[in-house]
């Protein structure tokens, strides 16, 4: 059951990711990215991270990607032009990328023996009663507002700065 779920959504994620890369039109890429995020959300559920899954959909798919699509629609940029290709990138990038992927996969296999398994609802940790996943809103919230309170506050400042910066950048100059 879990394996099936994993395989289905991993496949969706990979296909969508490839689509992100190969599609020429930004909107197609954006929607494929949304697909990746949705399937990742399901995988998070499989890993017992309910809250993160919900946040993934709400924040990433629901807000960030909508922003992207907005911009793409506003600029109404068509398919990208195939010009000014930098050969260095092609010749350096492709082999490097393959090598990198191979390395990563190899080390992952070497470092994580197959005896550590993921089961649905298997994510339990101290402080949660049996049956309730550790990734629920309660435990995450506790960790967020107790252990990681300071980083949390700092991120709020970060968001504020981002808002101001975005407004300053995107507003049209009044004098002109």
């Amino acid at each position: 059951m879990d394996v099936i779920l994993f395989l289905i959504f991993a496949a969706i994620a990979v296909v969508c990711a490839i689509n992100v890369v190969v599609q020429t039109h930004p909107i197609s890429s954006a929607l494929s990215l949304v697909g990746v995020m949705g399937s990742l959300a399901v995988l998070y559920l499989l890993l017992g991270a309910e809250f993160i899954a919900a946040a993934q959909v709400i924040v990433y798919a629901g807000a960030i990607m909508v922003l992207f699509i907005f911009v793409i629609m506003l600029l109404n940029a068509g398919a990208e032009a195939r010009k000014g290709r930098s050969y260095m990138v092609q010749f350096l990038g492709v082999p490097l990328l393959i090598f990198f992927l191979g390395l990563a996969a190899y080390f992952v296999q070497r470092m994580f023996p197959a005896n550590t398994m993921v089961r649905f609802g298997g994510f339990t940790c101290a402080g949660t009663q049996t049956g309730e996943s550790c990734g629920g809103a309660e435990t995450v919230g506790r960790a967020l507002f107790k252990t990681y309170l300071l980083p949390f506050e700092v991120t709020s400042i970060l968001i504020l700065i981002a808002i101001v910066g975005a407004i300053v950048l995107a507003r049209k100059e009044l004098e002109s």
Binding site: M1, D2, V3, A10, V14, A17, I18, V20, V21, S29, A30, L33, V36, L40, L47, G48, A49, F51, I52, A55, Q56, V59, Y60, I64, L67, F68, V71, L74, A77, E80, K83, G84, R85, V89, G93, L97, A104, V108, Q109, F112, T116, M117, V118, R119, F123, C125, A126, C134, G135, V140, A143, L144, Y148, T155, I159, I163, G165, A166, L169, A170
Partner: protein
């Protein structure tokens, strides 16, 4: 019938997604697409965070993922604003044309 998934599969998937993100970054010219590839990489990293979190029976990974999301949101806001401004000034989204930082 419940059958479990090896944890390494998740990490491998994350690696694959990450490499795809890098590929997008390297081979795409549309600055928005490049930006989206960055988001893709971030997602891949989030997946590995959550996986490690599962492995160590720790919630810290989730917190980290949460922060990555927040940062991604901020980044998207600012980055897209920058893209808008660039498009306003140069009427292009081709990343190879935006190379005024060269010497």
């Amino acid at each position: 019938m419940m059958t479990a998934v090896p944890i390494s599969w998740f990490l491998t998937l994350s690696a694959v997604l990450f490499s795809l993100g890098v590929a997008g970054f390297l081979f795409r010219r549309n600055i928005i697409t490049v930006f989206m590839s960055i988001e893709l990489m971030l997602n891949a990293v989030n997946l590995s965070f959550v996986t490690f979190s599962y492995q160590h029976k720790e919630v810290a990974g989730h917190i980290l993922t949460f922060f990555v999301m927040v940062v991604a949101a901020a980044e998207a806001a600012v980055g897209l604003a920058i893209i808008l401004t660039v498009f306003k000034n140069r009427a292009t989204l081709n990343i190879d044309d935006i190379s005024s930082m060269k010497n």
